[in-house]
Amino acid sequence: MEEEKIVQSAQKGDKDAFGMLVEKHRNKMFYLAYSMTNNRETADDLAQEIFIKAYRALPRFNLKSKFSTWLYRIGINTVKDFYRKESGIEKVSLDDHIEIEDRVDLNRESEKQEKLELVKRSIGKLQEKHRIILTLRDIQGKSYSEIAEILNISLGTVDSRLFRARKKLRKVMAPYLSLFRRES
């Protein structure tokens, strides 16, 4: 069954059709929330909230864009709302030191695990808009045009914002990259 038809059925109140949409997109929404929060429980709650909001707004969805794009928009707004409520999260400075050596023993844990942890913590230090664009492009692999549509910005803005986000991420991660090379 085509997604458009499933969406139309869901719009008419067919709960099973909405269930099919949830099953199809739940991981994407969960990963979006997880890459922004780094917490499974919170990400799960946020993913559920995204679908509740989508269910509420479904009658107003006009099928002009892809369902996934529309859902991503809801997802991004939900995550933004979450960050606004948890205002403390935004106050981390780029210059704050990531205590990776103290927190995890490099000899005991695998390097891959260490790298993943470093990425998570480094992304967490970025501004909200930079975290979002990195998640969409470099983690979820969305195309420039999809990102432009989801975030309602031009392709040029996608390009420049992505560059700034990567530049800041490099600034945060650079000292630790040399550490990894030395250890390995």
Binding site: V22, R40, V119, R170, A174
Partner: protein
């Protein structure tokens, strides 16, 4: 090419979004600039790490857990809709009521109050308005009927108004 532009092109190269001319230009710059070569290496390492991200699964029974929340949502939505329209209906119905009452007051004449005999006498009005035309006809039989009633009223102690 300046290092600033080279860095931008390095970022674009990660997405394979370089134009043919830009690729050669960047390659040339990297050959000459060890700092940008290092930056490129770092960007590639970071990009690789981002791609290696492993995500946990959402908690089990996602849809099963979501379903009752949607049900609550539906009942809450209908309550909200009722509340929204109900609250709007209150001032509208009050307005309609006021308009209707004013129209009634303007267009429907007030019912004439039936006066008691005492009130009629106090106001010195004629209680026989309906029978006046009959009396004015001056017919003998009507006059007689009038006399009969007067005599009955006299016996009962009722006082009638005579014009």
């Amino acid at each position: 090419m300046k290092c600033k532009k080279a860095e931008k092109l390095i970022s674009r190269s990660l997405d394979r979004a370089l134009k043919p001319g830009e690729e050669e230009e960047l390659f040339k710059h990297l050959e000459e600039c060890p700092l940008c070569r290092q930056k490129k290496q770092e960007y590639e390492n970071i990009f690789g790490m981002l791609g290696e991200q492993v995500f946990p699964e959402p908690r089990p029974y996602f849809w099963t857990r979501l379903k009752p929340k949607l049900k609550r949502e539906v009942s809450y939505e209908s309550w909200l809709a009722w509340k929204k329209w109900g609250l709007r209906a209150i001032p509208i119905s009050l307005l309609v009521l006021i308009v209707f009452a004013s129209l009634v007051m303007i267009f429907v004449p007030a019912e004439q109050k039936e006066l008691s005999s005492a009130e009629i006498l106090l106001q010195n009005q004629n209680p026989f308005v309906e029978s006046l035309p009959l009396l004015e006809e001056g017919r003998v039989e009507n006059e007689n009927i009038h006399l009969i009633f007067t005599s009955i009223d006299g016996e009962n102690g009722v006082r009638r108004y005579f014009p």
